[in-house]
Assembly symmetry: C4
């Protein structure tokens, strides 16, 4: 099997989605890139997780998105993953799900406010929500333009995608990423938990505002960067 | 065992309801039709899923609803299934549950707005809610009239039941359908998830309106019809 | 073991509470009466479900509440069960839990409106909420007076406890009952589900009113009484 | 292994957190003190529960917080546990989690009102929420100052930490404690359940006020103190 290690890894990180209760049916996909080899591996389109096997994982070109290994059709969201790898040069893994709390915020077309330290431990600021795509963008190259509108959201708002590794696509759902696919999956779970807690926070106290910059800095920086001291 | 294959299949799709967390106790039933044979098979009335066996599945006439095979009484909702098979000529399976999110919308007597792509992937527009039955309709032939008011809802609002494979019956709960019972069960799960996410979407942003027609078209049509490109 | 059959049965119905997700820790108890023998059997006080054994079940007098068999102290709520058996002459089993949705309504000191057929299948009308106990009632005989205020609620509002087999005790939580303890446990689960769905129904449509009497009659009476036709 | 018994116990109470659905990933930690030995044992920092072993538990000085046994770095929250053991002289175990309902109240920066008997059985009054830390407190000694602001909250409001064994830290999450770590974990679960039920209670009845003092007294005192009569 070509790209055996990469496909095995992407198989395993895909299988975390049902384990972490982030998907029902086939509503999600994980990919991981090998930038040196110029490819990324991704879940095949519409395959149930119960039936998924490592050899079903499809490997596509990082330049063209065309299949270079695997017999199945890659995820219908492959073009979105491709754009994200091209635009966000440090990322190594991408995840898309329809996890219900994150979808609820995406459908509400609202960015997720940073209300607490659980959020700050992973996302260094609010998680943005994209603008809606135009009909032309939808009709011409929907999946590619989904990637482009994500990149546009980070550029326009001067958000660093390495510090805020996720987004809510308006009317659709979340994408997350990370240095590798395992971290991207973890970020997907964190986003789901933060969306759940933010919903409840706003109901408990409709006047609440996001946490102070000092606390945001403290929690993000105790886990990330040169002065991090969390973990072993 | 007469109609062995059909009953085995209907047994299996019934058993998906507890597996997908769509029922507690006996609160649901699945049927599948064999139009050539002029019959459909359905869960027996009031039998716990833990005790259900393939031979318990009852086969009834597609014309009269009378039992043609099986020793048990068919579901009390059999007459509703019968009307749906008669009125919606393309469908092959029908599901009724009391899944909690869909029941909540049905009790609230509101149609389910199409707020996102998760909805659009399965339902090509809002999922309608029926009018309430009159006392006369309830007293004369409750289950049959439940089927008739579903059909009336689709006719009056010119909704294609093949494109919107589900309904909320006011004050009661959801019915879904599909080309076969397996797809009908999946549609029941999708409806439950969409009801959950729509509830949350409205709390997060009370001013939200349904997704644009362009995005609805895109997602429905990438999964359905001659230009579909999702899946293998 | 004295009253072996009764204690075995009450052990089994107690063990359904964690299985049906109605309790955490020791927050619930089930009893069943043997009116001929003049006793009822009930869970011991403060024993974890994981450790519960049939011989731990305590048998107490239906007249005095005093222990007649078993080495452990009976549930601290025994006096409440006793009053219910004395006041509601047809019931055979009683259940108390702190199931979260029912507790939420009890804490909100609101009766549970009958919003749909799921409710009507079991409860023939709104599930009432008691008045609060006075300080004197709390201090003199708290558990006994809890039973008395339940009975008072049904008498004052002329509700038939056989037709509405449950209540919300203000600031506390639910009690349910039935012809035997198994049915009482099922009613406890139905009440929890209906409390959950009613909460959501009111958020989805704050203007909603309870279902029409005709539909309430239909669903209750197709499952109960001489003209019932649900089940085998 | 030094402090073998203490580390084994703290290992086991840490493992209850995922079992009780109080944590995802590494979002929690349990400690227990041995006041005679002048040490407490605590979870190592950033270790997944699936991989945790008894020998990974770290033992630190009750005076300085420095490691006295174990090869791993102790939890990043160790300094908070240390202050709590120093300030609250009767407690034997401390738990911190990011359990979602408690975090939602903490993020909303509201104390948890005592709405019912489930609350009163464990917490003898409202569970307070701390003030926010100043930037200086965050930057100088964040974890230590988190402990100090908890102690300040109890002192200023004259709350007995033995009678209200938990707190919500503003913008962060819950800490609970108890005479030993097992009880502290149970209190963490009770707090989570009460936060969930209080949220729902307020939505069901926005006009609700906390339970009467008489009922609060009754439930707390039937489980605690010299006149307790709950349990065996």
């Amino acid at each position: 099997m070509k790209y055996k290690e990469l496909r095995q890894k992407v198989y395993e990180t895909n299988m975390l989605l049902p384990k972490l209760n982030l998907v029902v049916f086939t509503w999600g996909n994980v990919s991981e890139v090998d930038r040196e080899a110029g490819v990324f591996a991704i879940k095949p389109s519409g395959v149930e997780y119960d039936n998924l096997k490592p050899e079903d994982i499809v490997v596509v070109s990082l330049e063209t998105g065309e299949t270079v290994a695997g017999k199945m059709k890659p995820s219908s969201d492959t073009a979105t993953h491709l754009v994200l790898y091209q635009k966000f040069s440090n990322i190594g893994g991408v995840v898309h799900t329809h996890s219900p709390w994150a979808v609820s915020w995406a459908q509400a077309t609202r960015e997720l406010p940073a209300y607490g330290t659980t959020h700050a431990d992973t996302f260094y600021g609010n998680v943005p929500c994209t603008r809606k795509l135009t009909d032309q963008e939808i009709n011409e190259a929907y999946e590619k333009n989904t990637g482009l509108v994500i990149a546009e959201t980070f550029e326009k708002n001067q958000i660093d995608p390495d510090a805020v590794p996720g987004v809510l696509v308006a009317g659709h759902g979340p994408f997350t990423w990370g240095p590798e696919s395992l971290k991207a999956v973890e970020n997907s779970k964190v986003l789901e938990e933060c969306c759940k807690m933010a919903f409840r926070t706003e109901v408990i106290n409709p006047e609440i505002s996001r946490i102070e910059q000092g606390l945001l800095d403290k929690h993000y920086l105790r886990k990330h960067g040169k002065d991090a001291y969390y973990g072993q």
